[in-house]
């Protein structure tokens, strides 16, 4: 079953890290990605640019509205994700706990809707 690990973190905190600490954090993410890959569980992963780079779009009454900024303004932002395929929630939770994002932010574990079974 697929789960999306959504990493919510404060980008200000990351930006304030020293060069060495930032490099260590990146290394931790690389090692984590490698561990997931070796276990054959990873289905996709990306780091997102900060939310102040976001633009939101919605269509209302046939008119496209484009706005600068994220959908929801919060201190902790969605900063990246891992899409993994594991047997059950406990396995997903244990991988989420190993994600470096869990130590500096919060990882939300969301089951993916399997549309092929609907």
């Amino acid at each position: 079953m697929e789960y999306m690990l959504l990493i919510h973190a404060d980008p200000v905190g990351f930006a304030a890290l020293s060069e060495a600490d930032a490099a260590a954090a990146m290394t931790a993410y690389t090692a984590y990605t490698e561990a997931l890959t070796k276990a054959g569980l990873i289905r996709g992963s990306n780091r997102l640019k900060p939310a102040d780079m976001s633009t939101t779009v919605r269509v209302r009454g046939g008119k496209t509205e484009v706005l600068d900024g994220p959908f929801i303004e919060t201190r902790e932002q969605l900063g990246g994700y891992f899409l993994i395929d594991v047997p059950d929630l406990d396995a997903a939770l244990s991988w989420a706990a190993r994600c470096p994002g869990a130590s500096h932010g919060t990882v939300e574990v969301r089951p993916v809707w399997d549309m092929s079974r609907e």
């Binding site: 079953m1 047997p87 059950d88 929630l89 406990d90 939770l93 574990v109 089951p111």
Partner: protein
């Protein structure tokens, strides 16, 4: 227990076994409940009259299968039918139902999973493992039936949709996960006692059901001392239920209860469990609380309570849990053990946290009264009375206040 009660209990036990067995295969607790609902209802109606069948699980499976076939016949072809067909296959009676694997412990771990809202864990266990309906559970937990029903539906959907596994946690997680299971069972028991007068039979029965759940966990995990500790704690408390009210229905505190009214067999069983638990050398919250009960009861029977020992047990409990209620009990024990000033000082420090808690003011009144500060004691006792909802306890507190008058 009447034969009708025994038959109802047998139906609940078999139902829980089957819900657990079917959920473990399908990961769908709500689906398993639905598949068994009609059969369970039939068992609740018929077993008290006809007697419990020789093989209760096979009886329930056979009826559930027949009801599923009826439901299928009444349906048109389509997606719905596919789901019913799957259940039909799942309901196939195994060749040997006596050897049907008991997955109730796994089901309890799923109900008390950290991904399930803590407030719904105890209700969920009562429904999935014992087959109580949402209305009964709602009445016990003083929640509106619609709200309770909604919470239960949501929790079961989460087990299915987020795929919470019906399996025992690994060794590294077992301690923490077991604590959540035990805490939910204790919540069932504690909740039953909030109706201490026992006027609501639905809630009174819950205490017995909580003990049954604790027995089940203790029998399936005998190497876990806290599981034994919780069962011991509840048995000590349950053994004294007849002594908690006098003939007029007024609350009787432990120090004034008649030990002749205590149920000796339950206390002996609790003592045995506590000894077995202690032999593991891994103390915990429930073992310590049970040990306090043991010391209190033993002291009452001998006519001399060892307050120094009780003070030490509460000190250990405070260090372990950091609970303000444990600290309150520790303050009382300190005072009883001879250090009245230390006890009162400890109470002063707790006032900000426990100022809205009836037992805090009742304990404060006792300590002040014992120190000769009768006017202050009466005032604290009146605070306690305003915070107490149970008339039997209020009556007891009024008597205490009058004694300091």
């Amino acid at each position: 227990m009447t034969p009708a009660n025994a038959a109802e209990q047998a139906a609940r036990r078999s139902y829980g076994r089957l819900v657990a067995y079917l959920s473990a295969r399908s990961r769908d607790v709500a689906g398993a409940e639905d598949a068994l609902a009609d059969a369970f209802e039939a068992a609740l109606a018929r077993w008290p009259l006809d007697g419990v069948p020789a093989n209760p699980e096979a009886w329930l499976l056979t009826v559930a299968r027949r009801k599923t076939i009826d439901a299928l016949r009444g349906r048109r072809r389509g997606e719905e039918a596919a789901a019913w067909l799957e259940w039909l296959a799942a309901l196939e009676t195994p060749a040997d139902t006596v050897a049907l694997p008991d997955r109730r412990l796994e089901l309890m771990f799923a109900c008390a999973h950290p991904a399930i809202d803590a407030a719904v864990r105890a209700p969920l266990m009562l429904q999935a493992v014992l087959g109580f309906d949402a209305a009964t559970i709602a009445a016990a937990f003083l929640v509106a039936p619609a709200a309770m029903s909604q919470r239960l539906v949501r929790a079961k959907a989460k087990i299915r949709e987020a795929r919470i596994g019906l399996q025992l946690p690994g060794h590294a997680e077992l301690g923490e996960r077991l604590a959540a299971v035990l805490s939910a069972i204790y919540a069932v028991y504690a909740d039953a006692w909030t109706d201490a007068a026992g006027t609501d039979p639905r809630r009174r029965e819950l205490a017995g059901e909580a003990i049954w759940l604790a027995r089940l966990v203790a029998s399936l995990l005998p190497q876990e001392p806290e599981a034994l500790g919780l069962l011991a704690l509840m048995l000590y408390s349950h053994a004294r239920r007849a002594a908690r009210r006098d003939a007029a229905g007024v609350y009787v505190p432990l120090s004034e209860q008649d030990p002749a009214l205590w149920e000796r067999a339950l206390i002996d069983e609790a003592e045995g469990l506590l000894h077995l638990a202690a032999s593991h050398g891994r103390p915990g919250r429930y073992q310590l609380e049970a040990a306090v009960q043991s010391a209190q009861l033993e002291g009452r029977r001998r006519g001399r309570v060892d307050w120094v020992a009780i003070e030490q047990l509460y000190a250990a409990l405070c260090a372990l849990t950091g609970s303000p209620v444990a600290a309150l009990n520790h303050a009382v024990a300190l005072s009883q053990a001879g250090d009245a000033a230390a006890g009162l000082a400890r109470l002063d420090a707790l006032q900000a946290e426990l100022g809205g808690y009836q037992p805090y003011w009742a304990a404060r009144a006792e300590l002040l009264g014992r120190g000769g500060r009768h006017a202050d004691a009466r005032e604290a006792c009146e605070r306690a009375i305003t915070l107490e909802a149970d008339e039997a306890v209020r009556q007891f507190l009024r008597r205490r206040a009058a004694a300091w008058g």
